[in-house]
Amino acid sequence: MKTAFVIDDNLSYQKIISAHLNQLGFEVKSFLSAKECLSHLKDAPHLILLNQHLGDNELGLDYIKEIKEKSNEAPIVFLSADNDVYTVTKALKMGAFDYIEKNGSALVRLRTAIDNIPDYLKKGRRQKMMRIAGVSAAIVIAIGAALFFLFR
């Protein structure tokens, strides 16, 4: 079964999102803070829902990079009740897979985001392969050039 982490200090919202994810076939683990979630990331969840405003003045934005690294690149869907362009842009730039505003279409957007995960992962793998291929090509060229200068 696929696992999803939900990080939100709004208990009601957390419960609703978790109930919906359960219906969509996810086993859900819920956290009230991002700090609390960090030590569980080794479980490699398949999806992480991270809210912007968390308790104790914690901001989800500050944790995107760390969560992404520690969760082995799990797709992070960033949630916020604010429709603030700066936050959206920053979240996506920092590596969030999608951004969902907590409005009337939030659950519909969540379902669409989940449908898009396979493409996102495929794209990520392709980029990784391209990076590896690029580095390998550079190494081969460098060795070739070195040999050329050595034996000419």
Partner: protein, 128 residues
């Protein structure tokens, strides 16, 4: 013989809750709808109390938190006009001006209506 108007609907009219928007939000999942209703109905009375108390005591930071949390939940219920009203209320941490106070009282009244709407709707759902 007197004609019965054709547009008379058997569906009750809700004041704040929008049944169509709610169904659009939950998709085909009746179970999810019932779960959302149960969660919201369970916590709405205490939220209303907290907001009322915070207004009385002018606790602006508490009000900000309440409004922020409420916004997401109201959004999920598909109450778009109440959602807009809460979104437009920009509270600072310092003080509440007269306009904001009026808006807060209006939101409070609409939340009470929403509670009644949801109770009625959940009874309808149980009967159906």
């Amino acid at each position: 013989m007197q004609q019965i108007p054709m547009n008379v609907s058997a569906q009750p009219r809700f004041f704040v809750f929008n049944q169509q928007e709610f169904h659009a939000t939950i998709g085909d999942s009746e179970g999810l709808g019932k779960e959302i209703l149960a969660i919201v109905l369970n916590e709405l009375p205490s939220r209303i109390r907290n907001i009322r108390d915070s207004i009385k005591q002018s606790e602006t930071s508490q009000l900000r938190i309440e409004m922020h949390d409420l916004k997401g939940i109201i959004g999920l219920l598909g109450c778009s006009s109440l959602y807009q009203q809460i979104s437009q209320l920009k509270l600072s941490d310092q003080s509440i001006d007269q306009l904001q106070l009026l808006s807060l009282h209006s939101i409070l009244e609409r939340l009470k209506m929403l509670e009644k709407d949801l109770l009625l709707f959940s009874k309808m759902e149980l009967l159906s």
